[in-house]
Amino acid sequence: MSESREAAIEVQGLVKQFKKGPRAVDGIDLRVQPGEIYGFLGPNGAGKSTTVLMLTTLLPPTEGSARVAGYEVSQDGARVREHIGAALQEAALDPFLTAREHMRLQTAMHGLPKAERKRRGADLIERVGLADAADRKVGGYSGGMRRRLDLALALVHGPRILFLDEPTTGLDIQSRTALWEEVERLSSEDGVTVFLTTQYLEEADALADRVGIIDDGKIVAEGTPAVLKAEIGQPSVEAIPADPRRCEDVTRVLAPFGDGDQPHRVGDGIAVRLNGGDSTLADVVRALDREDIEVAHLQLHAPSLDDVFLAKTGRTLEGAGETEDEAPAAESTPA
């Protein structure tokens, strides 16, 4: 097996059709390189969790092929599990056990030698910042602490590939940022491949080297966040004059900077998509100044992953899940 060339995760035509249920995953292809953070972005019910369950060997695929760590998930499940760690949706912890007891159980289940079990558990608890709370029952932990312990438990056997299913859902921004830092460190320092599902645009944008956008069980876009956003087009600028009577002047000034579309009214201001990208913003400011137009508000709108989702599916990501027919609970229903 050539470690440097072989993908950490390679999926071809993967399908999951539930009995009397939806086709939750509908023929997806993807390839994740070793050490990469791959963001799997989509609304609720898009098929993210079903994909993760198949890749982690917990749900047999209906069709297609998926190789994880070089092993086919449908044939070499045990070998796949040796190389992966997973923190699935909702921190799966026992509220009556302490963090140290969780570590004890998890290390024993993975068959670590006795001497190593205690040391490994203590190291990981320290690493995720739970040393002070290690002997407290998990039932009293905050959401962020539970997620950090969940992550630590997924790492006890030193996996090469880590699956994180919506790891920051429901967390406050501080806990979310702390988890992002740990995931980045795992990838950059330890070379762990991370397959991360999320419905948060900013999470995919901040963490992922590459993003796959899934909707209705199909991957509708894939690439680096920058490339995906660039595909959508140039950023736009929006200017609101201090004097509302000067909107026409603003329109005239902005027109030459447009990429073909005419400036248009947005609320109290005028907006246009810039033909020269965000570097044109300084020229826009100078042009407005030359015309002696006082500006109350000037804003550059860079294309977001939501714009990408909108362009590919005709819907915005936020709220897209509400129109899905597939209930998330159906995803975990074994066929």
């Binding site: 060997t57 998930v73 009556f96 289940m109 068959g111």
Partner: protein, 259 residues
């Protein structure tokens, strides 16, 4: 059995015991409620010992067998519901991602249930003796009593595991509790079968395996060494264990559909 499997079973059993002991609501009623019910029955039914053919002059000696089976019904409820909760919360999936075998999970979970069952059996025996129950089988009989209680606990634990794997819902497993209680009330728990006046009740009690579990335990208190009663009790418990262990293993395979 490999060293790794033994460690897995021991750790799963430890977790099962620790988790139960940290939930007083699971432990205290399990011990107190059956004893309370016996106290009520002894108070109200002591006169039953006057009936011709009643096997003892102490209703406590007669009724103290019931808590042993009642505790096993609690074991279905507690052990099964805990496992179902693991399935609901995803803890089960976490375990499924380790090299743990399905057998380790079942044995580990049952070992925890059985360990608590032994503790309960010793408490019931001690309380019974302290309040004047006779124990005809002597010291050796106490060991047989604990062994039988352990097997009954194991058998009923298998019922809990089967339903937990099958339905994966703690609420549904807890719904079994009243159903199993009906089996307890329609048994020879309150009166010897030959003294039950109603034909239908006597028939149901005769076909109800719970009657034989109770009668086996009761024989150690009242009769001493009754081979037939003990054989039927061990046989019924073993049969329940065999049937529901098979069903539990089959359901586990479906539930843990990892590749």
């Amino acid at each position: 059995m490999s060293q790794a499997t033994r460690i897995q079973i021991a750790e799963l059993a430890r977790r099962s015991i620790v988790r139960t002991l940290r939930q007083p609501a699971q432990v205290v009623p399990t011990i107190i409620f059956p004893l309370f019910l016996v106290a009520v029955n002894v108070g109200g039914l002591e006169a039953a010992t006057e009936l011709p053919g009643f096997p003892t002059d102490s209703y406590l000696s007669f009724a103290i067998a019931v808590p042993f089976v009642q505790a096993a019904i609690f074991a279905v409820n507690n052990g099964g519901a805990d496992l179902a909760r693991d399935i609901e919360t995803g803890f089960f999936d976490r375990l499924a991602l380790t090299p743990m075998s399905g057998g380790s999970l079942i044995v580990g979970q049952l070992a925890g249930v059985v360990a608590l069952g032994v503790l309960q059996a010793l408490i019931y025996l001690a309380v019974g003796l302290a309040f004047g129950a006779s124990f005809a089988a002597g010291v050796g009989g106490a060991a047989v009593l604990v062994a039988l209680a352990l097997l009954i606990m194991f058998a009923f634990g298998c019922i809990g595991l089967f339903f937990a794997f099958r339905v994966g819902s703690s609420e549904a497993v807890q719904g079994l509790f009243p159903v199993l209680f009906v089996f307890l009330f329609l048994s020879s728990g309150s009166l010897p079968r030959n003294l039950i006046e109603q034909d239908w009740f006597r028939t149901v009690a005769t076909y109800n395996p719970v009657s034989y579990l109770i009668e086996g335990i009761r024989s150690l208190f009242i009769t001493g060494w009754d081979g037939e009663a003990l054989g039927l009790a061990f046989g019924c418990a073993a049969a329940i264990a065999a049937v529901f262990m098979t069903l539990a293993v089959t359901s586990l395979r479906t539930r843990m559909a990892r590749t």
